[in-house]
């Protein structure tokens, strides 16, 4: 097949590119202390939180954006971004779905997330973040009975200040990196999950993020804590409308697992990637880190990344507890002019810690993708083990795939295994399938899904189906 046809095949339209016409309250673009105070005030935050934000802001002013990633984009004008946008509605949060603006619910329907039905059918509790505020959290009551707290981070700051003070910023410190500092100053919403000792969360928890208003950034902040022996599975999904200008998304996610706790965090990210010429699209600069603080704790990141113009994201695990386990399963698909620099960091500190990395990168069109992974074994991490598998699949001949594995081994008892492959989607494979009567499009999706299987099987069942569907949409072409 000619590469031109191949390119056509992988071209697609962004299906979530609608704008919801909702009156919203948006602050003018620009960032200074008064904007931060405005946000903090809007959220009804206590004084200490505002101080925390202002401190982060001053930290951020002293920092410079990272330049080491294999990404090419013009400098971001942080004064051109609006840092707060909320759908206008009565001051009080809706107490039930009936009180939620029907247009918002319609938006979620379009995204294929009918909150009520979906939540009810699947037993999924959904926290939906629309621009900067959390719209509704379903199933709050049932979770409450189990002792699980699942609410927006703003609510948590008001209602559970002790937990916030104890954990916020302890995994990703304010000064960790440029984007984390910015997020700490201006974060507007996100989810908070607390699972107490010995409790297994009775349902999957889920958040959907959507950027709707123009010229806004989305800075959500998520904090998940599992006490001793607690378990939770959490999924986030993301979309944004099509816009010509770039939008910034700079989130911070912090996970804390105490002794014997298990946190499974899955992401299906489908932010608008920009058009085929690279115009528009989300800049996705995200810091995600899990802290296996307790012995035998386990944190597992699974991500399916198909969107965003620029992705800069390295979900990581700090393996502090003895015999703790960190896992990273990733499928990243780039198409058009998308650029992604993504991977993970596994920091082995405790004895007998283990980490497992499976990364599958699929590049199509003129996109560029890099896997960047660090495995660091500290001097006290006796008997630590890592296994890394990192595979790239190229579709067409105008895309790029790169692998940057870093290893810092400070301990002779460690075992490190690294496997990497790069392959072109075989014209032979395509021909084989087609010569059996299978259409080109179906053949591509079959081969790609096969390539991603190791990761998809890590996703919660119903989301695995969703991820497969999303992948098919992503690689759906204009054939015929």
């Amino acid at each position: 097949m000619a590469s031109q046809e191949m390119e056509q095949l992988v071209r697609r339209e962004y299906k979530e590119g609608f704008v919801t016409d909702i009156e919203s309250e948006t602050v003018p673009p620009g960032l200074d202390e008064s904007v931060i105070a405005f946000i903090s005030n809007k959220k009804g935050e206590p004084e200490w939180m505002l101080e925390w934000r202002i401190k982060a802001y001053h930290q951020w002013l002293k920092m410079t954006p990272p330049s080491w990633a294999h990404l090419d984009y013009p400098p971001i004008d942080y004064q051109a971004i609006s840092y707060y946008s909320a759908p206008k509605r009565p001051e009080d949060r809706p107490q039930s779905l009936d009180e939620v603006d029907p247009k918002l619910l319609e938006t979620y329907e379009k995204l294929g997330i009918p909150l009520h039905e979906r939540a009810a059918l699947a037993g999924v509790a959904v926290d939906a973040v629309f621009d900067s505020v959390s719209v509704t959290t379903t199933f709050k009551h049932k979770l409450h009975e189990a002792g699980v707290i699942f609410c927006s981070i703003s609510e948590a700051i008001r209602d559970y200040p002790e937990l916030i003070k104890q954990y916020l910023g302890t995994v990703v410190p304010v000064a960790d990196n440029y984007f984390a500092a910015l997020n700490s100053a201006v974060f507007t919403d996100g989810s908070f999950v607390f699972v107490p000792k010995g409790v297994t969360c009775p349902m999957e928890l889920s958040t959907y993020f959507r950027i709707n208003a123009a010229n806004t950034g989305q800075f959500e902040r998520t904090l998940i804590i599992c006490e001793e022996g607690a378990q939770v599975s959490y999924l986030e999904g993301c979309t944004a409308p099509m816009r010509d200008e770039n939008q910034l998304h700079a989130a911070v996610v912090e996970l804390v697992a105490l002794d014997d706790a298990y946190i499974k965090y899955s992401t299906v990210q489908n932010w608008y990637p920009g058009d085929e010429n690279g115009k528009g699209g989300i800049y996705n600069f995200v810091t995600k880190r899990g802290d296996c603080r307790g012995d035998r704790s386990r944190i597992s990141w699974t991500q399916v990344e198909t969107g965003s113009a620029i992705t800069w994201k390295y979900p990581s695990c700090v393996l502090r507890g003895k015999d703790s386990i960190g896992e990273f399963y990733s499928v990243a698909v780039t198409n058009g002019r998308q650029q992604a620099d993504t991977g993970t960091k596994m920091i082995h500190i405790g004895e007998g810690t283990r980490s497992y990395i499976v990364s599958k990168g699929i590049s199509a069109g003129r996109s560029n993708q890099s896997y960047r992974g660090l495995v660091k074994i500290g001097p006290r991490a006796k008997g630590a083990r890592n296994f890394t598998q990192c595979d790239s699949l190229l579709i067409g001949d105008q895309c790029g795939a790169h692998t940057f594995p870093y290893q810092e081994i400070g301990n002779s008892t460690a075992t490190i295994e690294h496997e990497a492959t790069t392959s072109k989607i075989g014209e032979d494979q395509l021909f084989y399938c087609q010569s059996r009567g299978i259409s080109e499009e179906d053949a591509v999706s079959m081969i790609v899904n096969g390539f991603c299987k190791d990761v998809f099987q890590e996703l919660p069942m119903e989301f695995a189906v969703e991820a497969e569907a999303l992948l098919n949409v992503t690689l759906e072409g204009a054939v015929g």
């Binding site: 084989y432 087609q434 010569s435 259409s439 079959m446 899904n449 096969g450 190791d454």
Partner: protein, 250 residues
């Protein structure tokens, strides 16, 4: 059912087929033989639609349709199926999934609905048994880690499930031991029927002891130099190809 007329084909600028003409009727088994580099595999690849083969003149029609104008998958849906000499591996895609997708794609193209799952499973299990293959084959990724013999059996398994009108088998005997050869040949023989044509491409006469062809063609330098019945194959076995080559040159 298949008519190839005066076919000229270039591969990477080099002329491989130079005026090949061949007619296969329903119910017939044809064998294409010939020395290495004569263009044997090129013929079946062109008919199946493989990229990189440039047809400079001539025609290929199947049941009256212009094959060269059809998409690859349309050719398969029309009943033209190629069994590969070197079947490719597709990691992560289960064999049973490929079989099901292929069968249903072909059925849908014919305006039939998808085959119900129980019926499909029954069909596949019968065919597996026929090919002396274990059910675990279905759960393995397509051709991944298969031995040479397993790959060839798998190709015939697909033929048995998909039931093409014209089965083209490219060097299906290469790399097979005698037992595997028997199983493969039995599979092919079971495909023989009044409605079906079979085109065997082979270098060795050995296969033709098990699958006795109606017609044998010797391909030399891009065209059919000599045709005959099964007896011709035996003659080639004892005398080699040189005499045909010399006869052609004369």
């Amino acid at each position: 059912m298949l008519e190839v007329k005066d076919l000229y084909v270039k591969v990477e600028g080099k002329e491989i087929l130079k005026g090949l003409t061949l007619t296969i009727n329903a119910g017939e088994v044809h064998a294409i033989m010939g020395p290495n580099g004569a263009g044997k595999s090129t013929l079946s690849a062109v008919i199946a639609g493989k990229e990189g083969y440039e047809v400079t003149s001539g025609s290929v029609t199947f049941e009256g349709r212009d094959v060269l104008e059809m998409e690859i998958e349309e050719r398969a849906q029309a009943g033209l199926l190629l069994g590969f000499q070197y079947p490719v591996e597709i990691p992560g895609v289960k064999n049973i999934y490929l079989l099901k997708a292929a069968l249903n794609a072909q059925r849908q193209a014919r305006g039939e609905g998808e085959m119900p799952a129980p019926e499909f499973l029954k069909l596949v299990k019968e065919r597996l048994a026929q090919m002396k293959m274990d059910a675990s084959f279905l759960q393995r990724a397509v051709n991944e880690g298969f031995s040479g013999g397993e790959k060839k059996r798998n190709e015939i398994l697909q033929m048995l499930v998909l039931q093409p009108k014209l089965a083209m088998l490219d060097e299906i005997d290469s790399g097979l031991d005698i037992d595997a050869m028997r199983v493969v040949a039995d599979g092919v023989n079971s495909l023989r029927g009044e409605e079906r044509g079979i085109l065997l491409v082979t270098h060795y006469q050995r296969l033709l002891d098990y699958i006795v062809p109606d017609r044998v063609h010797v391909l030399v330098d891009g065209r059919i130099a000599k045709s005959g019945d099964a007896e011709l194959a035996r003659e080639l076995e004892s005398r080699g190809y040189d005499w045909v080559v010399e006869e052609t040159a004369a």
